[in-house]
């Protein structure tokens, strides 16, 4: 039977898991949804540990929370959560196929949970066997004996799955370079060869009263140098003008002239 500690843990965590799962469905922001499912994953891991499946529980946290959810987060953050989903069916009969799969999965889950609920003796026998294995051979060793015993084919097929994953990632996310990458040294060499901006582009103006990167440097004749501001800032129309600074400069010059004339 379930021990008190296990029951307390379950009734504390299970509602939390349910709330987090609902968060996945109803959260306004995609990252919030991803966080709630990460929480669900961690709670499932704790449940496994409570059921004496130490290795499985920790691996659940390690792989699902650590790796899979991280992938989700990356995608959500990078691709932009606002892009609306297309509701056009790209693969024919996709909906029907997924419906069939959902029904199948629900059937499997229901039958398993049902057998756990109604056939308490079998469950207890399984749990006893697990506890015995944990103390005698050890949880991980028992697991390894299963992986490299009856399930060795599934284990080997997993590697094929991993290859497929790598292929998929490359096809979807990798863009091959058409021209070789120009290194810093090559850029420098090219600059010298072309004899253009040999000393690098001019730095933006540095003024005591204003931040510099969006303000063009002033050339010796007082005109602003367009080369000195980033083209990103130019495109965003964020370049500050130098008129005020030049006015001050002219004023100073005039004063100096006056001073020398006097």
């Amino acid at each position: 039977m379930t021990s008190t500690a296990e029951a307390v843990g379950f009734w504390l965590l299970a509602p939390l898991a349910v709330v987090a799962s609902l968060g996945l469905l109803f959260a306004r922001k995609a990252v919030h949804a991803a966080m709630s499912i990460a929480l669900v994953m961690i709670i499932i891991g704790i449940f496994y540990i409570m059921q004496k499946a130490d290795f499985l529980g920790v691996v659940q946290v390690f792989v699902y929370t650590g790796a899979v959810m991280m992938l989700f987060l990356f995608v959500l953050m990078l691709v932009g959560v606002d892009s609306s989903d297309s509701i056009v069916e790209t693969i024919k009969g996709q909906r029907w196929a997924s419906l069939v799969l959902v029904v199948g999965l629900a059937g499997v889950l229901l039958s398993t949970i049902g057998s756990a609920v109604f056939d308490e003796q079998k469950v207890q026998a399984g749990l006893d066997k697990l506890v015995a294995t944990n103390t005698e051979t050890g949880n991980i060793t028992g697991m390894a004996e299963l992986i490299f015993g009856p399930y060795v084919w599934i284990f080997e097929v997993t590697s094929a799955l991993l290859i497929t994953a790598a292929l998929g990632a490359m096809v979807l996310a990798h863009r091959e370079r058409l021209s070789p990458k120009v290194t810093q040294a090559q850029w420098a060499a090219r600059r010298i060869k072309d004899n253009k901006n040999v000393a690098g582009l001019p730095a933006p103006g540095v003024y005591a009263r204003h931040n510099a990167v969006d303000t063009p440097a002033l050339l010796p004749d007082g005109s602003p140098s367009d080369l000195s501001v980033s083209r990103v800032l130019v495109a965003r129309d964020q370049v500050a003008t130098t008129d005020g600074i030049r006015d001050v400069e002219r004023h100073l010059e005039r004063e100096i002239e006056e001073g020398s004339a006097r």
Partner: protein
């Protein structure tokens, strides 16, 4: 004590209480002086880029990194029980594991060859 995971939760609780406590205290103790510029995103003085939290796009390179991470993560997950139980498993498991590592290595070599491991 026969619940070896409970002390882990003690540690978790202590860490959380300490962190939340000190953040909470600083919220109470610290000054509050409103300044609009202070609440803007920091970008070394220029106007903040409009893209950060919205629908901006950043190269998807990191997606590939995360995917490769999963692949190797799963591989190492299989290596752990193998390593722990190695004494009991024997030669057959050793051969199986070498086959597995080699197969995953094919994926790795493919990604390398296609330039998936180059950071531009």
């Amino acid at each position: 004590m026969n619940e070896p995971y409970v002390p882990v939760l003690f540690m978790l609780g202590l860490g959380f209480v300490f962190a939340a406590g000190s953040v909470g205290t600083s919220l109470v103790v610290g000054p509050k002086r409103y300044n609009r510029a202070k609440l803007e995103a920091y970008e070394c003085g220029i106007q903040p880029s409009p893209q950060a939290s919205g629908g901006g796009r950043v190269p998807i390179k990191y997606y590939l990194t995360a995917m490769l991470f999963i692949i190797f993560d799963v591989e190492s997950i299989f290596l752990y029980p193998f390593a722990v139980a190695f004494n009991q498993l024997g030669l057959f498991a050793l051969i199986e594991m070498v086959l597995f590592v080699l197969t995953v290595f094919v994926a790795y070599a493919y990604v390398w060859r296609r330039g998936g491991l180059d950071w531009a």
